[in-house]
Subunit: 640 residues, 2 copies
C-alpha cells in the first residue's frame, strides 16, 4: 500500500512492546529513604525457588518496586537442580493468567493418561495393564498435567521478573537469622541478618516471607516446627532416557508388580530429540516381609529406614526397576542417559502456623512452600502447592501495603493477612492427609485378584486415585469460610447443585473456565482470559432472561454473561450500562458451553459472583441481593 | 521431597533453556575468509520489514551464521511505523510452526466476524446491517484473522532473530546499488554498494534478496518494473480510539452508505485499556457523479486522483466517516486518540520476474514482498503475502547453499531456486486480480434494493467476499506444478474428492491441521505441531486398515496415522518399524477429527504424502507406490 500523506502519534511507537501487567493503585505513602545505614524494604522474600520466585514476580507486577521489595537466594545462579517436575491443571490456569503458559504447554510433556499395571493371573505375563484412564478427570481449562524440569519453570518466572524488576533476585545471599524488633523501628520491625559473599548485613522490613525450602531458616528462626511423621518407605527416583519395550512408557503408570512398585512419569523432549522419563522405584526391603515393621504402613522405624536409604545407589534403583518391569526390559538408552537420580524417604509434615505476629497482632513473617509442608513427590503436588501458597499470599500483602484494605494504615492488624494461614494451612493439611493415604497405598502390595487377603484391590486403588483427582488437579480445592470467602447460609442462594468439582459456583473454589462467544465481535473466548492475574477483584454477572426487558436493572459490572434469549438483539435493546461498563466482556453463555448449567444458575433468575484476584469465588448472591456484594467488597477493599 | 542421596549429570543444566530450532545439516564447505578488503556473505538480505525479517530469521534458524548472512536496513531502529495490521489464518499457522504465535494470538485482536451494512429501504434508518458472517469460512487451525500493529510483529521476529544471530539486523545501512559481476568473483558474483552512516562499502555475496519495499532499490537496480495500473479510488486510513454508538464497531465491517463506503477493522487493546479501531474511508469526489471519469471503476486518471489525494486531511477523513456512519455518530474518543492516519490511492501492480539470473542461468538476485507486488490494503494481504514469499524462498536458498539439493555444488543453476518465482509469482498475480475485483467492488456503490440499475447487489458483494476467502485466509492458495509440486495424472491417485479448500490432500496446497490422539500417550495433538518449520521434509503416512495384519509393510516414516480399527492393539500388534521410527508421531485418525474423510483418503487403501519444509504438500501417492515418493525426494534432496 503506497501511502501519500501520513501522520503518526508518538504514542504509537509504544504499541510494539510486549504488554505489561498494570500495577495496583497505591494509596499509602511510599516509604521515605532514611539516613541510617540499615536497608529498609516493605517486603523481603527469602528463597527463589518456585514459591519465592512466584511471590516476588507477583509483588513486582502488582507494583512493588526494587526499593520496596528484596528477594534473596543463597544459590549463585538460577536454580538448575530442582527435583519437582509436575504442573497441575490449576497451576497451568494460573500461569496462563500471567501470560506464562505458552512455553510450558508447548515444550513440556502433556500428560493425558494414566495406565495401571498389576500382577496378572497368567503367570507367563507376570504383569498386565488393568486400565487406562484420563489423568485429569475433572473439568479444567487444560485437561492434563504438564511435566517439565523445575529449573525451566524457574527460568521462565525469573525472565518475566526481569521485565518488572531491575535487580531481580539478589543471589549468593543467605539468611542467617530473622527476628521481630518493634522497639527499634515499629514500621519496619522485621530484622533479617543476611550474608552476601562473606559480607554480613542487617535489613529491616515490614514483612518477610520465608520461601526457603524444607530446611527453612525463617521457620527455625521463628521457632516453628514441621510436625508429622516419616513413613517407612524408601524410594529411588531417576530421570533418564530409557530403552524399553514396555508399551506404556509414555503414559503415567502405576505399576504394582510382584517384585515391587514403580511409578512412570513421562517427561519433556530434550534438545537431542529424545524424551526423558522419570521413574519412582520402590527400594527393596520395604515390602520384604522378613522385617515385620515393614509390612505395616503405619509403623515408623526411622532408624531402620535411614540405614537402608544410605545404601541406595543408581544400580539398586535400576535393578529394582528391572525386576518390577518384568517381563519387559528397561535400561538407560546409552551411557550418559541418566540425568539425575536421588533417594528419598516418604514423610508428611506440616507447620502449625504459616505466619507470625508482632506484639500488636500484626502478621509480620510468613512462610510458604516447602518451608510449611513436605510430603512425597508422587502425587506431583510440591511445586504446585508451593506456587499456589504465593499466589494466595501475594495479592493480600500487596493490598495491605498499598493501602487498599479498609484497615490498612491503622497500627493494628490487617485481617486480610490472617486469611493466608487460614486458607493455605487448610490446604496443606488436606495435602498431607491425601499424600499419606496415596503413598501408603502406592507402597502397598496389590493382589492379583480382588479377594486377596491383606492386599489392596486394583479397584480400591483406582478409587483413591480418582477421588483424589480434585485435589491432585488443584481444581477441587476449597478454602474455608473467612472474610474473603462468604458462604452465608442465611442469605438467598441463587445456585442449585452441589457438584462443585464440576464447576457449580461455590465461594472458596476457583471459577471454572468456560468457552463463550463475545457479543461485541463474535470472539470465541475463554472466560478465564477476562480474569488475568493483575490483582483485581472482578464481578461476574450472569443475567436473567429479562435482560431485554427495559425495566431490568443491571449493576456496575465487569463481566456479563447472558443466557439464550428469545430474540436477537443489539446494544440498544439492553440497558446502556452493559455497553458502558462491559462492552468487551459481555458474552452469550449458551453458544459454546452451557454456562448457566455448568455454574448451577437458573436462567430465569441469574446470579452475581465476586471473583478474587486469585481467581477464587468470594461470594455468590442472587441478582436482587447486589448490596451483599457491596458489603462483601467493603470489608475487603477501602472505598474512595 | 527431602532427598538424601543425589546425582545430577552436567547436561541436565541445559534443560532449563528455551528450545532452539535444530539447524539443517551442511554438506557444502563453509566459505573461507579472504584477505582482500571486500566483505563476503553467502546471502545479503536488503530490508528488515516483515518479508526481510522473516527471511533473515528463517535462514538463521536453518543454520546460516552471521559470517554467512547479512541483513541491512536503512532505518535506524526497529520499525515502528508500519501500516499493515492483519494476519491471515495461514500466516498464523506459519508463525505457530515457528513458536511465535502466542503473543500475537493472546494480545492481538482476534477478528472472527464481518458485518455488512447497506442502505436501508427505511429512509429513517439510512443504513442497516444486512448480515453477519464468519470472517474465515474455510477450515483453518485458527479460524479467524488477527489484527495487530505491524511494528509488533517485526519486534517479535527480531527478538527471536537475536537468539540465532548476534548481529541481528545491521541498521542505518542503505543500499545504493546492486549488480552482478561474475568476472570479479564467480563464486560471489553479486556486488552490493551499501552506505552506513555516510561510509560507503562494497559487499559481495552469492545471493541477494531485495525485501526493500514498494520503492525497492534492488528491483530498480536489476531493471525490473512493477507493472499494472493505479485505479482512481482515493482512500483515507486512520487508526484511533473511537467514541461511537455504531453497534458493530468491534467487528470487521463493510459499510456501503449513501454517503460513501467505510471499512471497519477492529484492532488490538493497548496499554491504556482502550481498543484501537482502523477505518478505511472513501474520499469524496470518488463516487461523486459530478466528475464523469470517477463514476467508472475501470477508468484511470492518475493526474486527477493525485490532485485530490493531496487534499486529504485528518478532517476530511473524519467528515467522510461521519457522513457514512449516519445515523450513528463516530469521533475520536478524546484528544490524542488518533494514532496514525494516511491517504492512499488504490493500485495493483506486480513485477514480471521475482529473480534475476547470472550468465550461467543461476538465480542470484531475488525480490520479495512489496518489492514484487503492491495492492490495496483492504483485503489484509500485504504483510501476509510478503512473509509467505520469504517462507517459500528461505528453505530453497538454505538447501542450495548447504549443498542439500542434487545439483548443489555444480556450477550450473539449481532448479529448486527457479521454483520461487514460479510459485510466488503465480500467487502475486492471483492477489492482484482478486484485489482489483475486491477493491473496485468495495469502492462501488451498492443499491438499496437488488434491482438497482448499475449498482451491485449486496448478494453479489457477499459472493465475491466468500469466494475470495480461500485466498484472503491464505489457506486456499495452490502452487502450480513444478519439481516441488508433483500432480502426475498418469499415476494412481489415492485421493477422492476435490474440495481442496476443505482439506482434501492436494500437491501444492498446505496440509490442513487436524486434531489427533497420539497412540503412545493419549495426547490430543494438532497435527501441524509435528510439522514445525525447521526446514525438514516429512512423510505423512495414512495407513490402511490392514496395519494389524502381520503381512502389512510399513515404510520408513515420520508421521503415521491409522483409521478406526476393529480391535484394540499394543505396539507389538503392529509392525516394529512404526514404533522404531514414529513412536511419538503415531496417531489415531478417528477419535477427534475424521482425518481420512478430511483428507479424502480411503481407510481401506491409505495414502502417503510428502510435506515440504513450508508445510505444503509436494506429492500424494498410493501406499503401494512408495517408490514415487523416493523419486520425488531424490529430485529435491541429494542422497548420501
Amino acid at each position: 500500500m503506497p501511502v501519500f500523506t501520513e501522520y503518526a502519534a508518538a504514542s504509537r511507537e509504544l504499541r510494539v512492546l510486549p504488554s505489561f501487567a498494570p500495577p495496583l493503585p497505591r494509596r499509602s505513602p511510599k516509604p521515605e529513604p532514611r539516613s541510617d545505614d540499615v536497608e529498609r524494604y516493605e517486603v523481603v522474600v527469602v528463597g527463589a525457588g518456585p514459591a519465592g520466585l512466584m511471590l516476588n514476580l507477583l509483588l513486582a507486577r502488582y507494583g512493588l518496586s526494587d526499593e520496596s521489595l528484596l528477594c534473596v537466594d543463597a544459590k549463585p545462579t538460577t536454580l538448575k537442580s530442582g527435583q519437582a517436575d509436575g504442573l497441575q491443571p490449576r497451576t497451568l490456569e494460573t500461569l496462563k493468567s500471567l501470560g506464562l503458559a505458552d512455553e510450558i504447554l508447548t515444550e513440556g510433556c502433556q500428560m493425558w493418561q494414566v495406565a495401571f499395571w498389576n500382577p496378572s493371573n497368567d503367570k507367563e505375563k507376570i504383569i498386565e495393564r488393568t486400565s487406562i484412564i484420563q489423568d485429569v478427570s475433572v473439568p479444567a481449562r487444560f485437561p492434563h498435567e504438564v511435566t517439565i524440569h523445575q529449573g525451566r519453570i524457574e527460568r521462565i518466572l525469573e525472565t518475566d521478573l526481569h521485565r518488572y524488576s531491575k535487580r531481580g533476585v539478589q543471589r549468593n545471599t543467605k539468611l542467617i537469622d530473622v527476628k521481630i524488633d518493634e522497639a527499634g523501628d515499629s514500621e519496619f520491625p522485621v530484622i533479617a541478618e543476611i550474608e552476601t559473599e562473606g559480607r554480613r548485613q542487617t535489613v529491616r522490613s515490614k514483612y518477610l516471607v520465608g520461601a526457603d525450602g524444607a530446611r527453612s531458616v525463617v521457620r527455625r528462626s521463628m521457632g516453628l516446627k514441621l510436625e508429622g511423621e516419616s513413613l517407612d518407605h524408601i524410594w529411588g527416583v531417576v530421570d533418564l532416557i530409557v530403552d524399553t519395550d514396555f508399551p506404556d512408557i509414555r503414559r503415567r503408570c502405576a505399576i504394582h508388580s510382584p517384585a515391587g512398585s514403580v511409578m512412570v512419569i513421562p517427561r519433556e523432549r530434550i534438545a537431542t530429540g529424545d524424551y526423558l522419563t522419570r521413574l519412582y522405584v520402590q527400594v527393596p526391603g520395604d515390602i520384604n516381609p522378613d522385617n515385620d515393621a515393614e509390612t505395616s504402613n503405619e509403623t515408623n522405624k526411622p532408624a531402620d529406614a535411614r540405614s537402608r536409604r544410605s545404601q541406595v545407589t543408581e544400580k539398586t534403583i535400576f535393578d529394582n526397576a528391572a525386576a518390577a518391569f518384568k517381563p519387559y526390559y528397561i535400561r538407560p538408552k546409552k551411557d550418559g542417559a541418566v540425568d539425575w537420580w536421588a533417594a528419598y524417604q516418604i514423610g508428611q509434615r506440616v507447620t502449625d502456623n504459616f505466619s507470625i505476629k508482632d506484639s500488636k497482632g500484626v502478621e509480620r513473617v510468613f512462610i510458604a512452600g516447602d518451608a510449611c509442608h513436605t510430603h512425597s513427590p508422587k502425587a506431583g503436588q510440591g511445586m504446585n502447592v508451593s506456587m499456589m501458597d504465593s499466589y494466595n499470599l501475594a495479592w493480600k500483602l500487596a493490598y495491605s501495603i498499598h493501602g487498599l484494605t479498609p484497615s490498612a494504615g491503622t497500627a493494628g492488624p490487617d485481617p486480610i493477612l490472617a486469611t493466608y494461614h487460614k486458607e493455605r494451612h487448610t490446604i496443606a493439611q488436606e495435602l498431607i492427609a491425601f499424600d499419606r493415604d496415596f503413598s501408603s497405598m502406592f507402597s502397598g502390595k496389590i493382589g492379583a485378584s480382588e479377594d486377596e487377603v491383606g492386599g489392596l484391590t486394583h479397584e480400591e486403588f483406582l478409587q483413591v486415585f480418582s477421588r483424589g483427582n480434585g485435589f491432585t488437579s488443584g481444581c477441587g480445592i476449597e478454602y474455608p469460610e473467612n472474610m474473603a470467602v462468604n458462604r452465608d447460609k442465611s442469605a438467598k442462594n441463587p445456585i442449585s447443585g452441589e457438584d462443585y468439582l464440576s464447576g457449580i459456583l461455590r465461594p472458596g473454589r476457583r471459577l471454572l473456565n468456560v468457552r463463550l462467544v463475545r457479543h461485541a465481535d463474535g470472539y470465541r473466548r475463554d472466560l478465564q482470559d477476562d480474569f488475568a492475574s493483575t490483582g483485581r477483584f472482578r464481578i461476574l454477572c450472569l443475567t436473567s432472561t429479562d435482560i431485554l426487558d427495559p425495566e431490568g436493572s443491571p449493576q456496575r459490572l465487569l463481566v456479563v454473561i447472558h443466557p439464550r434469549l428469545d430474540r436477537d438483539f443489539m446494544w440498544n435493546d439492553i440497558p446502556n450500562e452493559v455497553k458502558q461498563y462491559s462492552e468487551m466482556s459481555f458474552y452469550s453463555g449458551h453458544e459454546l458451553d452451557d454456562v448457566y448449567k455448568a455454574y448451577g444458575v437458573d436462567i430465569a433468575k441469574g446470579a452475581l459472583a465476586v471473583v478474587r484476584p486469585d481467581g477464587y469465588v468470594g461470594i455468590v448472591v442472587a441478582l436482587e441481593d447486589a448490596e451483599r456484594v457491596e458489603r462483601f467488597l467493603e470489608s475487603l477493599i477501602c472505598t474512595v
